[in-house]
Symmetry: C2
Subunit: 428 residues, 2 copies
């Protein structure tokens, strides 16, 4: 890994900003617009046609039989099944703390003001097929929706000639997903956004996918809600001379192996640590099964920044705003207050980042590309909405009428003033 | 207003869905992309050029002097100023109830899991110029941001040859806005999203604007966060035979006067009420200053639906998912539980909708076009973000290592397993 020192903070900032700009492929956008139009026009028939032409699978029925799901669950390796169940429990107990509560305020005489918090009615989760089919992502998407109280959680996943991934089906059962349709790509997103004869319209679509899925989610945003469009995985590590270089290298590679565009950044004030981690990464790469992918990620977006002080380390990391942030410093908890921008923070020597990817309970669907400046992890808030309400009695309306009418007049909206006056506030 | 009866629920649903589809003007999108590129390239100079060519105002400095703001505040009509101050207090006290709180969970042995809730650092608010300059919108955008704890709230508004609207400047002072720049249109959105020599980059842009502003917000979404793209105003009313037709007509017109594309919908089970409201709307329109606008809105998107039962009334209104919903039925509070989709609900005879537009405290920036199915009013949640954190001790890592490794292996991500193993969990 490249070690960078003596670079100005602003030069580093610019490099970070440029590296994370998302580009849109207009050919993909055009193709996706066609697919969405076809699904809106022809419904299920369009889904069947695309399943045949794009996935090479001929289907009469998209719905996955409960018997197939149960079989996958029962035949799954017991250790894996128990690990999924334990992870699901942790994810559930963590996200239960996130629920927003309704409130009602009666502090103003004659006025009741409140907010009713309710779940979305129906949600769709996209789960990629093939080697990118991750049971952990099924849990991370579905469980917050269920904790929020969503009545119906629908999963879509591309049809596979040799059958769906059994670990994904088992995870869907454990997460309490209500229905699974074998539909993939932009056509699946269109079906969820607009509904077909078979697939009901949902209120929100979450989950990762390829460029077509991402473009389709962008296109239907507004018709339904979506989660953020996720970029490549990122890990940032703050470490000092006492950190274990082998563990840091392993953690950097755990994110680098996701994607050739993944980012792995170490910021340290120790030259010896920087050198040791750089060597450890090289050494560990030699035996990593996914070394081809991780190699490219490390070469293009793997950096070790060497700065003078811990203050500088933190300032720079707040600019990076990484998806995952490990703090491998003495008294790691003491720095949490100063972390302004990050998706999920991992504190101390034993808190290796994959604990969060799979098991501990915090979500692994996190803001990337610097969007941690303004975005949150996927959470219960993604599946709840707020409905305000207000009630005035006659006395309160009389009291406040003049103020409301004054404001309506200053905005030139006489119709607003008359609505207040129509209650007899003026001529009584 | 047109009275519609004996139409099937599904026919009505289709009409509603079609009426609210947003279309994008590709000419506007292309022009906006050019403007954004120019601002990114030339910074302040591009802002000056556009100010000259698009707004017809030549400016050396975009920042509005504090002396000008103070003067506007001091010279404002006392009644209007006091009304703005009282409204600001109500908005503040309501939104203080919305704050999400950090939590920390220690229920799993050896594990600390938590979420730190923090405000966004810097937010930009767009305020339209000319006759659409609404001081109430300044309060509604800025106060939730301030309640969330945003350090710096920046307002942008188009330069005006004859000076900025004094009520808007006074509202900005009352709301605690930190800086005001005289910049408008897509160029203002671009400046906030990317920063220039003068204008700092923000984390989120909120506030209404014309088609160019809306297209620019869409274009920079991802680079910064945005609020929803607002559609035309909407009011839905549920009323029975006991409701006051004059008051209902006045409330319908209070939203119709906003925009020729505004929607005003009454759903009732009383033919006589339907007829009386229809006549009252005609009569009140004759003397309304903004009758030209309201007339078009009523003609194109003003409907009275006559159905048999209150159950049908509620089911249909949940399909409409209106921005504003008035419940003018006996025991209005008893129906709140059954309202699934609405931005803000107004309960009972004295709760005229403009109370919410101006004064009572709930926000007036609300989901339109059916997006209340999945969106919330603007609130403190728009200006807070969540940062997860996790800490494992050695014993907890040993305990959970096998489960995490099993899940990493089933996903084919050996690098994740090795990160766990690198802590000596296997070979100790």
């Amino acid at each position: 890994m490249q070690i960078i020192q003596n670079e100005s903070l602003s030069a580093i900032k610019n490099k970070i900003r440029q590296a994370t700009e998302q580009t849109v492929d207009s050919v993909v956008v055009e193709r996706v617009d066609q697919i969405i139009a076809k699904v809106r026009e022809n419904g299920d028939q369009a889904l069947k046609d695309y399943s045949q032409s794009l996935d090479g699978v001929s289907l009469d029925d998209f719905l996955v039989d409960q018997a197939i799901i149960d079989q996958a669950y029962n035949q799954l390796d017991v250790g894996v099944r128990q690990a999924l169940q334990a992870a699901a429990e942790n994810i559930k107990s963590f996200h239960q703390r996130e629920r927003a509560e309704s409130f009602e305020d009666r502090t103003v005489a004659g006025v009741v003001r409140g907010t009713k918090v309710t779940p979305l009615a129906r949600v769709g989760i996209y789960v990629p097929g093939g080697t990118a089919a991750y049971p952990s992502s099924v849990l991370m998407n579905a469980i917050p929706a269920k904790v929020a109280g969503v009545q119906e959680v629908i999963m879509v996943t591309p049809p596979q000639a040799d059958g769906l991934n059994p670990a994904v089906l088992a995870a869907a059962k454990i997460a309490g997903i209500d229905r699974i349709y074998q539909i993939g790509g932009a056509q699946a997103v269109a079906a969820l956004a607009y509904g077909t004869e078979t697939v009901p319209q949902v209120d929100k679509i979450t989950g990762p996918g390829n460029a077509y899925v991402a473009a389709a989610k962008r296109a239907v945003y507004g018709q339904v809600d979506i989660d953020m469009i996720a970029g490549p995985s990122e890990i940032g590590i703050l470490a000092d001379e006492d950190a274990d270089p082998q563990a840091l290298a392993a953690d950097l590679l755990s994110q680098a192996e996701h994607d050739v565009n993944a980012r792995a950044i170490l910021i340290t004030n120790s030259l010896s640590l920087a050198q040791e981690v750089s060597e450890a990464v090289e050494c560990q790469l030699l035996t990593l099964p996914r070394q081809k992918i991780a190699r490219q990620a490390i070469d293009h977006n793997g950096f070790i920044y060497l700065v003078e002080t811990i203050d500088e380390m933190i300032a720079l990391m707040n600019e990076v705003a990484p998806e995952h942030l490990e703090i491998q410093l003495k008294n790691p908890d003491s720095y949490l207050d100063r972390i302004e921008n990050a998706g999920s923070v991992f504190l101390g020597k034993y808190t290796s980042e994959p604990l969060g990817d799979y098991f501990a309970g915090p979500n692994h669907i996190l803001p990337t590309g610097g969007t941690a400046r303004f975005s949150s992890p996927l959470g219960v808030w993604d599946f709840q909405k707020h409905i305000q309400y207000l009630s005035y009695d006659q006395m309160a309306l009389q009291r406040d009428a003049d103020a409301v009418i004054a404001l309506a007049n200053v905005e030139g909206l006489e119709g607003h003033a008359r609505a207040i006056e129509s209650r007899g506030t003026v001529n009584d």
